[in-house]
Point group: C2
Chain length 467, copies 2
């Protein structure tokens, strides 16, 4: 199958108008049941055809006894049979004209030589019957363009511009939960499994052309085709954030018996990622903050940062990260400094500078907003970062931040020291206005750092990246 055909196949599989779940069952703890449940809960916009030889209804849906019984066209076959049954059903899928299949079964090359031989049979069948496969040994896909949750996990996920490619279903699921907690909206999610038809490069090329995807996260254990993968990632013109597993060689074994691929030398991957300008992270928390920054912070003109902070310490952590990446604090104009001094009055309790530490102002949000407006209005400031410490019994300066952002038009990021639940309404408000909120200075810095790296690169400058 050539690259263009693969791309077209993936477009079809991620925008199906109809899906069949082969191996649907009323045993609530099995994948075949939960896949149907996920499709219903997710509000899939197309038709759902559960398939089981003997059941008549499932979760309120008519059950079809075979694929042949479905009279309408079928776009995507979701196969929740065992490893042998999956091979056998591909003929039916082909005859039904399915544009592609998701194969959940494990038991192929990740387990044994016999498994590898069976995977060859699967590949042969897929080719013979013209049914491209995602998997086998996949945990599924999500395509929020059509509200398709084709995983065995019903979930409520915020929608957004981030797509995620994962080699591990469990790590990918963990990502989804943590991303939802962070308010990071997802567009597509792909668990690649054993990569029988499509490899990383194919998925990356697809997401590169996909209009719903602005930013891509990539979790890799290992692949024999690392070069191809990295070239594809570098070619698509969208930011790609990669998390490579496996610093220790002992992990290779565990990984091999899991996805059937050696994880390879960590250093080798690190170097090649760096060479091709991919963003690298070392844990899921950094992955989420980085993606959130790239997806939600508006592009600044350049990389000069202005900070107003309610207490100095958090801003120092952020500045440390940002300067370490080669970005710079804006040099405020004399007019801005004068404005700050004028606002602060005689005997000002702080120094007019950037970062502007207004600790002495206390909790009133109005002066905080006034100082923020002065700083954000400075022509030397390209991006604004506001730190504030919540006091349980007083409010947050979110409305001031929104006002200043709307007035100055500058990209803005908020970082509140607050309990997650306490600032959740403010997070939703701020993010609806394009101001992402973080609750630790490091996360804010990872997010801004990535955006500034991308800005510098896109505008032809040179960014010094630390890792």
């Amino acid at each position: 199958m050539d690259s263009q055909t693969k791309l077209e196949s993936l477009k079809g599989m991620f925008h199906p108008q109809s899906v069949a779940v082969i191996g649907a069952t009323n045993v609530t703890e099995r994948a075949g049941y939960n896949l149907v449940n996920s499709l219903i809960h997710g509000g899939f916009s197309g038709h759902i055809y559960p398939v089981h030889p003997r059941l008549d209804t499932l979760l309120g849906l008519k059950v079809y006894h075979s694929l042949a019984e479905i009279t309408e066209p079928l776009d995507l076959a979701i196969i929740a049979l065992n490893e042998r049954g999956t091979v056998d059903i591909l003929k039916d899928c082909g005859e039904k004209g399915a544009k592609g299949a998701l194969c959940f079964a494990g038991g192929y090359r990740e387990t044994s030589e016999q498994g590898a031989a069976l995977e060859e049979q699967l590949r042969d069948s897929a080719n013979r019957y013209h049914v491209p496969l995602i998997g086998p040994n996949t945990f599924g896909i999500i395509s929020n363009d059509v509200n398709l949750n084709a995983t065995p996990c019903p979930m409520h996920l915020p929608k957004g511009g981030v797509s995620f490619i994962t080699q591990s279903g469990g790590v990918g699921l963990t990502f989804l939960h943590r991303a939802a907690d962070a308010g990071l909206g997802i567009n597509k999610w792909i668990c690649v499994g054993n990569r029988c038809t499509f490899d990383f490069a194919d998925y990356l090329a697809f997401l590169g052309q996909d209009s719903g995807t602005r930013v891509i996260g990539l979790m890799v254990e290992g692949t024999e085709k690392a070069d191809e993968m990295v070239r594809a990632a570098a070619d698509i013109g969208k930011p790609v954030v990669v998390y490579k597993v496996g610093r220790t060689s002992a992990v290779n074994f565990a990984s091999m018996t899991h996805t059937g691929s050696m994880v390879g030398s960590y250093q080798l991957y690190h170097d090649i990622f760096q060479q091709y300008g991919l963003f690298q992270v070392t844990n899921l928390l950094e992955m989420i903050a980085t993606l959130k920054g790239l997806a939600m912070i508006e592009s600044p003109r350049s990389n000069r940062i202005g900070i107003v902070t309610h207490t100095a310490g958090p801003s120092i952590l952020a500045i440390d990260e940002l300067l370490n990446r080669g970005h710079s604090m804006a040099t405020l104009t004399e007019s801005t400094l004068e404005g700050v001094r004028k606002l602060a009055g005689p005997n000002p309790p702080f120094i007019a500078k950037n970062p502007l530490d207004v600790t002495a102002v206390g909790w009133p949000t109005e002066p905080f907003g006034q100082y923020l407006e002065l700083l954000a209005g400075d022509p030397n400031v390209d991006i604004v970062l506001a730190f504030y410490c919540q006091q349980d019994l007083l409010g947050l300066p979110s409305r001031e931040l929104i006002r200043v952002k709307e007035k100055t038009g500058k990209p803005m990021v908020a970082c509140y020291a607050s309990r997650a639940a306490l600032c959740e309404p403010d997070r939703e408000l701020l993010e609806s206005k394009g101001i992402p909120l973080f609750t630790s200075p490091e996360e804010a810095a990872w997010a801004i750092g990535a955006v500034l790296d991308w800005t510098v690169r896109s505008t032809g400058g040179v960014s010094k990246r630390s890792h």
Copy 2:
């Protein structure tokens, strides 16, 4: 003041039976108001004496017009006056017999030469009137032994065995919020400010002897007495986790104008921390996970890990971190392997090994518990890690984990891929039974890694630490 006197002073200041808030005010946005509010909200077990020259009542409390008006003994003076007023009031504090004072005002050596001169006056007054100071330029202290929240931020914090020393009030506050979200219980919290009477070494020595403190977190921007601090940390026989700010030299300036101390060479600090066996972290998220592990995971006999996992990927991330620190996966006995094979039945859908990947079992929690019991019961397993992926519509295996922990008596850690709010009841249940819960594999690994490092060190072994 000699070391022993300092220790006794700190004991008194952290266990006061009465506190005065000098500079109490009815202006709700000022520190003097919020300090009184924090004391009341926190349920301080002693007497609270707000002091203001003209007010009569505040937040339902009688207000005293001067310290002299208070007829009962006074243990702790909380001073929310400006930098000049703070100097002047120390005489009254001394005459009243206060055991110590918290000085919130900034404007001393962190701002200017005049400020530094004023700080000298403050120091002289403290010595003359025998009133040891925390601060100036502190954000306060918390001592949950007596429900004392002497910060301007009313907060509801879980109680526990972790104490935190911070050079930055804002970073310390952020820590408190994130710790509360993670269910990490706090015992004492100290914002050191300009370290007029007490330095890091004094606070560390105090917490070393403090029965409520099991584990210590330390956030440092910089100090001229790094050697003293590190020796104190190494001497106290409790785990100390340190977060040193300032990889870039430019941060030195921002830090100097904040706490009046140069941050110093990052590499130098790194090396000396490593030499003295302190735990080092590079962000607050890692700090919290590490402290949570050290505070909540029971001490294992040795460092051989057993893992049962609902999907392989997360376990690989954890194993990578743990092997990288020099720990090892337990070699299961033949009897355990036989038990696993017997339970799995003919044609087992997974390999009997450690980590035990039971993906094929699906979501039923009962078999998950049975496999966990087999693994935890293995004599070669010292500590147990259980990974599980939540399915929104099905339960979590928390009761199985608790049952197995109670039966085997082995330390256990849970890691659930789940939304924070969704698994919150399970977190509380598990943690009440001594099983800390994490929601990402890296956090679980940081926590376990620290405990195993500490175990190896305490039992005389050699741990290879990665950073």
